[in-house]
Amino acid sequence: MRGYVLRRLLLIIPTLLLLVLGTQFLATLAPGDPAENYARLHSTSGVATPAQIAHARVLLGLNRPFFVRYVAWIAGAVHGDLGVSFTRNTHVAAEIGSRLGATLELALTALGLTIIVATPLGAFAAMRHGSWFDHTLRAGSLLLASIPGFFLAYVLIEVFGTQLNLLPVAGREEASSIVLPAVALSAGGIATASRLLRASMLEVLGEDYIRTARGKGLSSVRVVARHALPNAALPVITVLGTLLGYLLAGSVVIETVFAWPGVGQLLAEAVAERDYPTIQGLVVIAGAFFLIINLLVDLSYRFLDPRVRLAKQ
């Protein structure tokens, strides 16, 4: 077990190195000159002369060869230095840190909401297979998964913010501010997870050990909660793990629509400003989240599924 975890952790390093390389390469290909952008932003006339642009290129280290910049960035990153933002003059790590709290708060709330809503819906639909509830859930989840996030966000704002005047529609000042963005962000996850859980539950409910449990006289609730759900949850956990990775990377659209000051908004700003260090920092942090969450999901199988434990042994 320890060896497995160590091997997986070590694999994260080359993956991140490749991620940084790919990000830097793609950023270089993108149209727009960050030196010109920097010079213009830092010139009090709002426009940049060729001399100012050339100076900015040297100042930002953009005159150095591609691999020199790559190695320099890696060297800084291992010491916790993700560089300095081209446009804000602030340390990227600090800038991301200041936004990460908002994104974590939103992501974890959306994930919690997904689990709380999708689990009973999926389980109940499987237990009542073929009923009107099952049909409604299937149709409803298909509809929910098909609605673009920004559209749902506007509908939620219109209904709960404007018409009913129940909830704030933008910002992060009040505790209730999180409700609408969290609902909008979790909608797709609820649709996917509930359908997946339903399908998985249907398969599990037909297994011999479930029949045995019922034969022993266990109540339906106990059969589902104790025996069916943990086994049916495995594929759902994989999906939720991936979902959390996406959520932590920041939802650009939802954060923009709800003016939620998280890393998604920061990423959108950084891309628009060709702020390479910030883009690179955000991609690496998001990549690290993905890899760690994937590892945790894999490890969770060991505890949830005895077959995995036995196979490992």
């Binding site: 993108a30 960050p34 830092h42 009090t44 200041s98 936004r99 913010g161 704030p168």
Partner: protein
């Protein structure tokens, strides 16, 4: 002229404490000319569609929340203008102020004189910073020297440009000939700081509002400055809340989370107007939507060099139709990108073009461009196909414009391909390479210098930017702009700029104006005292107050 007295009078009118008749009488008594009174009244009313100030007493609760767009404050360095630019929270003030009609008035400086390339400013002696210390020439020198460190800005300030004469007098000499300095320093980037401080430091401005709290990406809050030297604001607290998405901003206004929303979506204006608890205010025209024709491009972007094509483009565009359909009627037909008021009577020097499809076709026929089987013209085997680059300030801002122009040009046999730059950095990249025939933009005039935009876009004598490399006609345009930059008076500068724009529009046909735009604001009906400024960065929010 007694500027503070006039300010007080305007505030009285805005707050509904005097009638318009009383306002006119007192303004004339203060020596304001008839046209000046009209301008002031216009500014107070801002536009016919703006809410007229009513005689309603302020309410007890004076906390106002304003929905702004994206938080574009730079947080550190010399370009850090927290609280000043682009969202002006009225913490700071400049030596001179830009009026809604783009004229310039005294502010922290009570007067100035131009002596050759040097401007001597006489400061007011009754101005105090929010920490209680008086404003002196030392503070102005500190501020301008700071600008010089950042490159000097458009006024071309150098390390030795600002010289203190006495406690309240100083001389400012640009590093090169620049008679437009006074009109340039109206911009909030030239707001005066307390010596030794930076933007965003608490209690360091002279303005009506005091810095309270700034949360990046979320809001900036300011409170009333009880010791303000001018008319005291009624609002006790103003929170500028950043909501980047225009639709969300509009919905937040409708939901009551905002008292006032900046730049509401054009598509939402009719809905807001029909809601009894809401109203819409529009600023005078200060923005423009236009495209420039690349006249110095290389193949395949060299078709703009043909005068017949430029003539056809100018006359093929139905500007009135554009305003009515794409802009939902919320635009004005103007001939240049300059706000009409900035050129004054000289604006008539620029004739512009009328919608004339047959004239456009005829120009192309005469030049040998014959219509092909698909309706697109060809000449010598070459198809008349142009590329329009859309992306400044961003593509969504210009939504609908490329497609409208495409349809109009197709009607005269010109094929238009649309390239959408995802952001302004990409757009700049296309521009730097001259990779397009037509470049579509929405811009804004934020200072009082009539030569500002023509210099950036068309003046081949300037050493920054790529615009003139592709759009500068040279010759008379350069001569006129150079004359405007060194003109001794605003009027002479306006005349020279108008002559340059006449050359650019009517003769060179390198500039195609689509519409003059106004900023649109949505506000609750219990919000009063709002006077929309054509230049949003010069907006005075401190006059806004709540009646209920």
């Amino acid at each position: 002229m007694g500027e503070s007295a006039i300010d007080a009078l305007v505030t009285e009118l805005i707050h509904g404490r005097i009638t318009r008749r009383q306002f006119v009488g007192r303004a004339v008594a203060l020596g304001v000319s008839a046209s000046g009174v009209a301008v002031l009244l216009d500014a107070c009313g801002a536009a016919s569609s703006s809410p007229t100030p009513t005689a309603v007493a302020p309410a007890a609760n004076q906390t106002i929340t304003i929905g702004q767009a994206l938080d574009n404050y730079v947080a550190t360095g010399l370009k850090s203008y927290i609280g000043a630019y682009p969202v002006n929270a009225n913490i700071y003030e400049q030596l001179v102020r830009l009026n809604p009609d783009y004229s310039v008035s005294p502010w922290l400086a009570k007067s100035w004189t131009q002596n050759g390339n040097t401007v001597r400013f006489q400061l007011r002696s009754d101005v105090k910073f929010q920490d209680g210390s008086p404003l002196t020439a030392t503070d102005v020198k500190y501020t301008f020297d700071r600008v010089a460190q950042g490159g000097g800005g458009l006024p071309m300030l150098g390390p030795n440009s600002t010289v203190i004469v006495d406690q309240y007098t100083l001389d400012v000499t640009p590093t090169a000939t620049n008679y437009r300095l006074v009109e340039q320093i109206v911009h909030p980037e030239y707001a005066i700081l307390k010596s030794g401080t930076v933007f965003g430091d608490p209690k360091n401005g002279t303005g009506p509002m005091i810095f309270g709290e700034y949360v990046k990406g979320d809001h900036i809050t300011v409170t009333r400055n009880p010791g303000y030297w001018g008319p005291k604001p009624t609002a006790t607290t103003i929170t500028h809340k950043f909501i980047p998405d225009a639709t969300s901003r509009t919905l937040a206004l409708q939901g009551g989370q905002l008292d006032l929303a900046v730049d509401v979506a054009r598509s939402a204006v009719a809905g807001l107007r029909s809601t009894p608890s809401l109203k819409v205010a529009t600023a005078p025209v200060g923005q423009y939507q236009a495209f420039y024709i690349n006249i110095h491009g290389t193949a395949p972007h060299d078709l703009g060099q043909d005068p017949a094509i430029r003539q056809a483009i100018e006359t093929a565009i139905d500007r009135k139709g554009y305003i009515n359909t794409v802009l939902a009627g919320l635009g004005e037909e103007v001939q240049t990108f300059l706000p009409p008021s900035i050129l004054g009577s000289y604006a008539s020097l620029v004739k512009g073009f009328s919608y004339d499809v047959s004239g456009a076709k005829s120009a192309l026929d005469t030049a040998g461009w014959s219509v092909g089987s698909d309706g697109i013209r060809t000449k010598g085997g070459r198809r008349l196909s142009l590329t329009m680059v859309n992306g400044f300030p961003d593509a969504p801002t210009n939504q609908g414009a490329p497609e409208f122009v495409q349809a109009q040009l197709k009607a005269v046999g010109i094929d238009l391909q649309i390239t959408t730059a995802p952001d302004s950095a990409s757009y700049t990249s296309y521009l730097t390479q001259g990779a397009g025939d037509l470049f579509l933009e929405t811009g804004n005039q934020n200072d009082g210098n009539a030569a500002f935009l023509p210099t950036i876009i068309f003046y081949r004598g300037q050493t920054f930017g790529n615009y003139p490399k592709y759009f500068g006609p040279g010759g008379a345009v350069d001569t006129d702009i150079a004359a405007a930059l060194s003109a001794p008076s605003d009027s002479a500068a306006a005349q020279n700029v108008a002559m340059a724009m006449h050359e650019v529009v009517d003769n060179s046909k390198v500039f195609v104006q689509l519409a003059g735009l106004s900023r649109i604001y949505g506000l609750h009906s219990d919000i009063a005292g709002f006077v929309p400024h054509a230049s949003n960065v010069n907006q005075n929010w401190a006059t806004v107050y709540r009646t209920k």
